[in-house]
Symmetry: C2
Subunit: 284 residues, 2 copies
Amino acid sequence: MVNDSGWFTEIYPQHGSAFSFKVIEKLAEEQTPFQRIEIFETEWFGTLMVIDGCTMVSDRDNFLYHEMMTHPALYTHPRPERVWIIGGGDCGSLKEVLKHPDVKKAVQIEIDERVTRLAEQYFPELCASNGDPRAELLFIDGIQWVKDAAADSVDLIIVDSTDPVGPAEGLFNEAFYRECFRCLGAHGILVQQSESPLFHAGLIEAMHQTMRGAGFADTRSLFFPQCIYPSGWWSATLAGKTVLAGFREADARAKPFETAYYNAEIHRAAFAAPEFFRALAVNP
Amino acid sequence: MVNDSGWFTEIYPQHGSAFSFKVIEKLAEEQTPFQRIEIFETEWFGTLMVIDGCTMVSDRDNFLYHEMMTHPALYTHPRPERVWIIGGGDCGSLKEVLKHPDVKKAVQIEIDERVTRLAEQYFPELCASNGDPRAELLFIDGIQWVKDAAADSVDLIIVDSTDPVGPAEGLFNEAFYRECFRCLGAHGILVQQSESPLFHAGLIEAMHQTMRGAGFADTRSLFFPQCIYPSGWWSATLAGKTVLAGFREADARAKPFETAYYNAEIHRAAFAAPEFFRALAVNP
């Protein structure tokens, strides 16, 4: 909701804090069968998408999230040719995935078609690669998609979802991770957004344990700044069918595309675990 | 100011955004000769100090700032025995500095004694080392202190100040950096908080140029999350009389003290420059 002074605020009730954006105007508002989507033009962050009151993506800082959800996992897998993106309806992760020439097929499985249609209208730069012949956009339930898929049918699964409440809740449990494990080929990797290291360390710890319980041999979290998400500090967690030690550093150094945040040094840096994080049961 | 619903908000007017804390009660408020200091008890961040409306330090996340303002520079200098902290009145940086057994003398030069007296009362854990015989607390102008000091009288100068407006403005110019350069011994290092990489990249770029203009041979920025500062992403910039390549990694790995964020991997990671940062004129 925008107040009388033109501010949109997302409150983090469990963490006694809130982040606000100065809004120029509301560009769109829709109640879909799944959620309420709002699009704002803001003063500094450019266009902003909000889903069920939670900020999802802004022009100004989405590069951090989309680059870090994709390139570290893509440059860890030895040869990622088949990629699924579960969620990711704004198409920003898809755009980053398709920057990799080795990727032969990228399927985006977003449950809510309206997220993508609004992104096409209001975030055209994120959707710039939607017409790539390697891209396929499906608007179905990602959990069902993974259940129905054949074993060894994907190299990298990117779970680019909302928070683990509401529609995305089923993407954070062992049953889902087991199906992902089954679908992944040799050296397959699952990477999932895993909330704030400052606000949700317990959730990240539980994710590691659940992923390992589902059969993954190795799990690692990476960290990056994300101004518009709670605490301004975010994480992604990788689960590998084999040990996640295979950073293709020479390829990352010679990456044939531009980024704004990611590079080979940032790749290594992002996996450095803060001292408090090492104390968690994330590497049992 | 706390609104009717019990929220304290800091607005970042130039960046169309704001961060808010749910407040339980205001514990103190003082107008000193230099600034207005407020202390709040918050719902999740513990005790919070605010100066002239800007959030300075909270129980919950100050470890990030204080560890990253001190340990990377201390483990870069080959033998930091003499340390000055300009500003730093909450004593959190002093406490981290004194964790290093090699440090023989740490002088904190804070212009506003009330910051320290209120910290002693409301942030006792940050002031736990104020009685260390190696510590000296002065309440005088840091700029004058540096001007009056002898050449080669310090190994590491930590500028732990407020933003480059108001009382701290004179800590961000070439004249001040030249005096620091003069006071530093061989391999001397100056480290200064340098604002947000997302919001103030131009300021960081200008700092590098000004530090080099003042005679420093090398400058490098490091990055860390800081939830309560604008954008949630912060930086410190080091200026060295010689090349800043001497990370004492073995010493950092064997550090004889506890930290919550810093470790040897985080040290290396913090200096990794994002792709957009490399495009700035920070390494002329």
